[in-house]
Symmetry: C2
Subunit: 236 residues, 2 copies
């Protein structure tokens, strides 16, 4: 099966969670907009193509299936790519963890866009500072403590005791947070040893290491979801 991934060019964004799964599994895929430009995405969003109508990218074409929403795409790909342990318990556990990762990603987005996704960061800077402070002090520790507990708890269990797309997504989350909030993440370091070890293990996987070195991995930047603004991550 040749998968077709549709995501905006120029940023990692939510598409990166799908890309990491496809790359780790060595899947045959095309990153369609990077070949043909962003306008191919618009023709799907306008309903001019067959299959289900996506609200927004990323979406994936797999044969005649068109699947949108990061968590749903990974729920589909997980079993096909061998990126989730077998059985309903493990599959649903992976899905809810992925969904929780999607939730913190949305909160990361809103640290720089707390009022309007349609306006520039510079137009909502004062509110962004407030929301980012709450994120750093309350939400970030709450989410990362949770994922740390999941790994601690999961070690002795069947579900997620094996490598899965959730590991890849946690790697991407930690990478993005390190880029956007280096100071806050430095302060969190001692609290999340298992998450840190997991992120290092994922970075060392041969297909992931090769991908991260390739031109297919777009660097983090200030058009994406994980953005570094010093005002949103003060030194103390």
């Amino acid at each position: 099966m040749r998968y077709e991934l549709f995501y905006w060019t120029g940023i990692q964004g939510r598409g990166e969670f799908i890309r990491l799964a496809l790359e780790d599994a060595g899947a045959d895929y095309i990153d369609v907009a990077r070949k043909r430009g962003d306008k191919v995405i618009m023709s799907y969003l306008r309903g001019l193509q067959e299959g289900s109508l996506p609200f927004a990218p990323p979406f994936l074409k797999a044969g005649r299936l068109v699947i949108a929403q990061t968590g749903t795409i990974l729920a589909y790909l997980g079993p096909h790519l061998g990126l989730v342990p077998g059985g309903a318990a493990a599959e649903f556990y992976a899905q809810q963890l992925q969904q929780t990762i999607c939730d913190i990603v949305m909160e990361v987005h809103d640290t720089h866009h707390p009022i309007a996704a349609s306006q520039y960061y510079e137009e909502q800077r004062a509110q962004a500072r407030k929301r980012a402070q709450v994120f750093r002090e309350e939400r970030l520790p709450k989410f990362l403590d949770y994922f740390e507990s999941i790994i601690e708890r999961g070690n002795g269990r069947q579900a997620l005791s094996r490598h899965s797309y959730v590991d890849l997504s946690l790697f991407q989350l930690i990478s993005g947070l390190d880029y956007a909030f280096p100071n806050a993440m430095q302060r969190m370091r001692g609290r999340i040893p298992r998450l840190r070890a997991l992120a290092e293990r994922v970075a060392d996987r041969p297909n992931i290491a090769a991908y991260l070195q390739s031109s297919r991995r777009i660097p983090f930047n200030e058009q994406g979801i994980f953005r570094h603004y010093t005002a949103l991550d003060p030194a103390s």
Copy 2:
């Protein structure tokens, strides 16, 4: 199977999407916190119980499975309750639509809490007014136009041509938006005839009609996600 639903007492919240599916299907379920108080939820969140660790309610216990995240719970329940058409295409379409409903629900929450979920609305009223304006003028039309297109597009197709949990969730979304933003929804009325018809059909389903009349249906209120504040929904 007797399902156990865990959600905070006193509000409809995200738990209501699960409750509507269980009620519509006539499923055997217990709304655990309403019987035993909110502290039973805390014992799961603190990791004191068997099974997967939820980040937040709602979560569902089905035998030994513990499933969290609204979309994931419905992905599990859909096939068990006969609330999604058969086949991968329909199941994944339903999942991504449900996830998009969860996304707008999070945006509705952030209209009254744009800065901090941990602080009162009254402490972030100025920012709430700005975010709610963007929501009413940009996001609400974008999401509702999308769902209207889905129904228009879906009529002639297999996927979602039958009743599903997505219909129930769209009913809940429209009900909540009518409560929170009556003026904005009045202005949208002519644009969403199919969504309006769907919401009326769902309200007339015998099990749903009986549920809505019962004491199990908590009224909308200003502790929940859909809140009515006149400052956030001006008359014009």
